[in-house]
């Protein structure tokens, strides 16, 4: 019925990475080749890989010591009556008996928990923002099955009220925004810090790799089949995929040769730039796929063209092929229990996450939903309990990996966030109780050491431009 929630037919993803990207303006190395040939720009330097650079900067924080808390470090460790110290935006240490440096804020967290901030690898906030009106519906460029040329960041509306809810209710500090799943190649993803800014660039996670959102299954074949276009079947999906990869391989060869050897500059193709980035390992494939058999086909296709699927998203049947995923070093990003809402979700079970964990595959929770992102900790609690009922024992602390370190790894940012390891970004949540209990909420959330949500201080709760002056004013009234 129309009262139903928001999960839309949108979700798809793809994320890639751009490391320290060179820009075209850089000094180009001169090669020794003599002839009239143009000089070779050098590999990866033929064009800018970072034309919309991050302008995010950490907000000021104060050195903070949270004491007497239960700590999940995000890597599987648990400390009882422990402390967490962070300063200058970075984690300094966790353990027992830490002492506060002079001038530090000390918070007694007796009865409370501290964890790394939650990372959602699959969100459409900003691209499908609230309010969900057509004018703001910017998540699916559903005009062609291959739109590797579009970048989700160019649709992100930084005033989406959903960012603030994800922070305050969900403890989400980092999220990947993906294009939707209407297309086989949906476009580039972007990784954001969950900090409001006036521009998308102001939210962009510095140096995070890009992703490429791909989709298999029902959505592309339905969207284009209903228009009398290819693909109208699953075999059509794979045919268009392979043809596109073949073209990308050719594009890559031309550009690699030019960048290495100089000569005539090949013509640019914005879509092929992204696919070349995948083939060179710079951009990560985030692949919407529900069915086990289709995931197996996609992994073979990836081998055929020499790329890797970083993660299958939704992956409701991943539990059937945990061994295959493990062999291919491909992750599954899943819901706890969504099932039955379409044919390809008919076999969804609540034990998916736990069964994959048991199989030794890389697995994590994801939301794909503006409401679900506010309760990812609860989703993990459900998945954990379902697993335990099936005899799969995973500790609470180990399960927190599904919320932080596993998605950080799949996004290629685990050297900077995703756990409370000293030196990492101080993306930290203080929960008012056990975060795997339904009765618990974030009490404070820090991003890069800056306190950006405090349940006890109405001034530390963001209200987006859209909600300012509206009734409720961002659910703070």
């Amino acid at each position: 019925m129309a009262i139903r929630g928001l999960w839309a037919a949108t979700a798809l993803a793809g994320a890639l990475v751009l490391g320290g990207c060179a820009s075209k303006g850089d000094e180009r190395p001169q090669t020794a080749s003599a002839k009239p040939k143009a000089p070779a720009p050098g590999r990866g330097k033929g064009y800018s890989h970072d034309p919309f650079p991050s302008t995010y900067r950490a907000y000021p924080g104060v050195a903070t010591l949270v004491t007497n808390v239960t700590v999940y470090d995000g890597e599987g460790g648990r400390i009882e009556r422990g402390s967490v110290l962070f300063a200058d935006g970075k984690v300094v240490g966790i353990g027992q008996g830490l002492t506060a440096p002079a001038g530090a804020t000390v918070i007694d967290g007796t009865g409370k928990w501290v964890t790394p901030g939650i990372i959602d690898i699959h969100s459409h906030l900003g691209d499908y923002p609230s309010p969900g009106v057509q004018a703001l519906s910017d998540g699916n460029e559903a005009t062609d099955p291959v739109t590797a040329d579009v970048w989700a960041e160019h649709s992100v509306w930084p005033q989406d009220p959903g960012f603030g809810r994800a922070l305050a209710n969900g403890g989400v500090t980092t999220l990947q925004i993906l294009p939707g799943s209407a297309n086989l190649f949906g476009g580039r993803s972007v990784v954001l810090k969950n900090v409001y800014a006036r521009t998308m660039q102001g939210m962009k996670f510095p140096g995070a790799p890009y992703g490429l959102k791909m989709a298999c299954g029902e959505n592309p074949k339905r969207v284009y089949g209903s228009k009398g276009r290819k693909p109208a079947t699953r075999m059509g999906n794979v045919a268009v995929d392979r043809q596109t990869w073949a073209k990308a391989a050719d594009y890559r060869r031309k550009w690699d040769r030019y960048e290495d050897q100089g000569g005539d500059e090949p013509s640019r193709d914005i879509a092929m730039d992204t696919l070349r980035g995948v083939l060179s390992g710079e951009i990560r494939v985030q692949n919407h796929c529900y069915r086990a058999d289709e995931m197996a086909i996609v992994m073979d296709m990836a081998k055929e063209f020499g790329y890797k699927v970083t993660a299958f998203h939704h992956a409701v049947e991943a539990y059937k092929i945990g061994d295959l995923l493990k062999q291919n070093d491909t992750c599954a990003a899943v819901w706890a229990d969504w099932y039955g809402f379409k044919m390809e979700s008919y076999d969804g079970i609540g034990e998916n996450l736990a069964l994959l964990h048991k199989a030794g595959a890389c697995v994590m929770i994801h939301s794909d939903d503006a409401n679900g992102i506010q309760r990812l900790n609860q989703e993990v609690a459900k998945a954990l309990a379902a697993g335990r009922r099936a005899g799969i024992e995973v500790s609470d602390a180990a399960a927190w990996r599904w919320l932080s370190l596993a998605p950080a790894k799949a996004l290629g940012i685990d050297d900077r966030t995703g756990s409370l390891k000293p030196g990492k970004m101080a993306d930290v949540v203080l929960w008012n109780g056990d975060p795997l209990s339904v009765y618990t909420r974030p009490e404070k959330v820090w991003v890069d050491g800056a306190l950006l949500y405090d349940a006890n201080d109405p001034k530390r709760r963001p209200v987006s431009d859209f909600e300012l002056g509206q009734p409720g004013e961002g659910d703070v009234k």
Partner: protein
């Protein structure tokens, strides 16, 4: 009185289990808003609750169920949705939840489509859902049709009360279905009621058969019990101003028995809803300005409306199956601990998914709680039923013990052992 008699008639067909069962030792939550009772006993006889409490004697000859260390509650009453009408939402062939090209609207009677053998029914039953409020979605008109109250029992008759309410859209969706504006939705509503009155005065003279008739005979006929107040009119609106507008309808149609569904901005007009004695089915978790009619959505909505004296049941608006209502109710407790927000205490929270929805639909004398006389829809849980780690372990509907297996459980069991074994997975069952 007439309404009561009809109600009674509707229940006659329900199956009865001639058996006495005593569930002992558990933490018993009656579901009426009261606090849980440690070490309580629930006695079921002939399909009804006959006694509940701490010092209840186990009748001689009763089958006893030891629930020590467990929790015992009424079954969840889920709604408003399409349970029983749909195999997989996105599979149009399997979906009786809407009728996009039908010439009929208010006449659509979902009780003709219910399939108690559906996979979703089996899964949700094993998850502790025992009754559901189901309706078809409005699509070609503001009217969705006649909804039903069903049970999820593993038996051939899922209907608790057919034609239990009429469903109508009067907010943004209603505007859309009526041709593009709220005034168009109200014009459609007023015209439909006027035509229904015409039909009542002189059925033979009523047009309503032509291709261009704005209201078909069957639709007009279906609206008569609504005008008479014998059938509640469930109105989906979200915006405060829309709620106010709906609350004026009884001035024009004095017998109308209103129920609000959605009411995302209900907290802003809570005093008016309470004064009108209109019950509400609302979301526990919708806190985003998901549309221009929900700008003031907040997780405090249910708490604030309840505090104002409104009868509020919680809608299922999630995606993991209706058993997730326990999680929604738990969140109503959680939000109460956040400064500035309003939640519910535990007993009230459980009531929003058991007795309150029953009360909203006028069926709380029959279902939704463990108070004596109610149908014995009982669930034994592994722990606190609102907590994420808990699961239903035993379910009775009308006093009958229900199977706890389900297709999803079978899939789990098949894949507990990874990889192929001596034979393909297809042989493992």
């Amino acid at each position: 009185m007439k309404a009561l008699l009809l109600l009674a008639a509707a229940f006659v067909a329900a199956p009865v289990a001639a058996q006495t069962i005593a569930i002992t030792g558990g933490t018993v939550a009656i579901g009426d808003g009261s606090a849980p009772i440690p070490g309580g006993t629930v006695v079921i006889r002939d399909g009804r609750i006959v006694a509940v409490g701490r010092s209840v004697a186990v009748p001689a000859g009763a089958q006893t169920v030891d629930a020590t260390g467990k929790w015992v509650t009424p079954g969840i009453v889920a709604g408003i949705g399409s349970l029983g009408l749909v195999d997989a939402g996105g599979v149009g062939e399997s979906n009786d939840g809407s009728a996009r090209t039908s010439p009929f609207n208010a006449a659509l009677d979902v009780s003709t489509a219910l399939n108690p053998n559906g996979v979703l029914i089996g899964n949700e039953r094993a998850g502790g859902v025992t009754r559901a409020i189901v309706t078809s979605d409005a699509s070609t008109s503001i009217f969705g049709g006649q909804g039903a109250i069903i049970d999820l029992g593993a038996d051939p008759d899922p209907v608790t009360k057919p034609r239990a309410f009429q469903y109508v859209e009067l907010g943004e969706s209603g505007a859309d279905h009526a041709g593009g504006s709220r005034p168009a939705a109200y014009a459609m509503l007023f015209d439909a009621f006027a035509q229904a009155a015409d039909y009542r005065r002189n059925p033979a003279a009523f047009d309503g058969r032509g291709r261009d008739a704005l209201l078909k005979r069957a639709d007009a006929e279906a609206l008569l019990p609504v005008l008479d107040g014998r059938m509640p009119l469930v109105v989906h609106v979200e915006r405060a101003s829309d709620i106010r507008q709906v609350l004026t309808l009884p001035r024009r149609y004095p017998s109308l028995k209103l129920v609000l569904a959605g009411a995302g901005e209900g907290w802003m007009v809570a005093q008016e809803i309470a004064a009108a004695r209109v019950p509400v089915m609302a979301s526990a978790i919708a806190d985003l300005p998901a549309s221009f009619e929900q700008l003031a959505a907040t997780e405090s909505n249910v708490g604030r409306m309840t505090r104002a004296g409104i009868t509020v049941g919680v809608l299922f608006d999630g995606s993991g199956g209706e058993h997730g209502l326990t999680q929604f109710a738990g969140n109503l407790v959680a939000i109460g601990k956040v400064p500035g927000a309003t939640g519910l205490d535990w007993g009230q929270a459980l009531a929003t998914i058991t007795s309150k929805p029953a009360q909203v639909m006028g069926l709380d004398a029959e279902i939704g709680s463990l108070r004596p006389g109610r149908r014995a829809d009982v669930v034994v849980w592994s722990g606190d039923p609102l907590e994420l780690s808990s699961a239903a372990e035993a379910v009775w509907i009308d006093g009958r013990s229900q199977p706890m297996n389900s297709r999803q459980r079978r899939l789990r069991d098949r894949y507990l052992t990874p990889g192929e074994t001596a034979l393909p997975k297809a042989y493992s069952r």
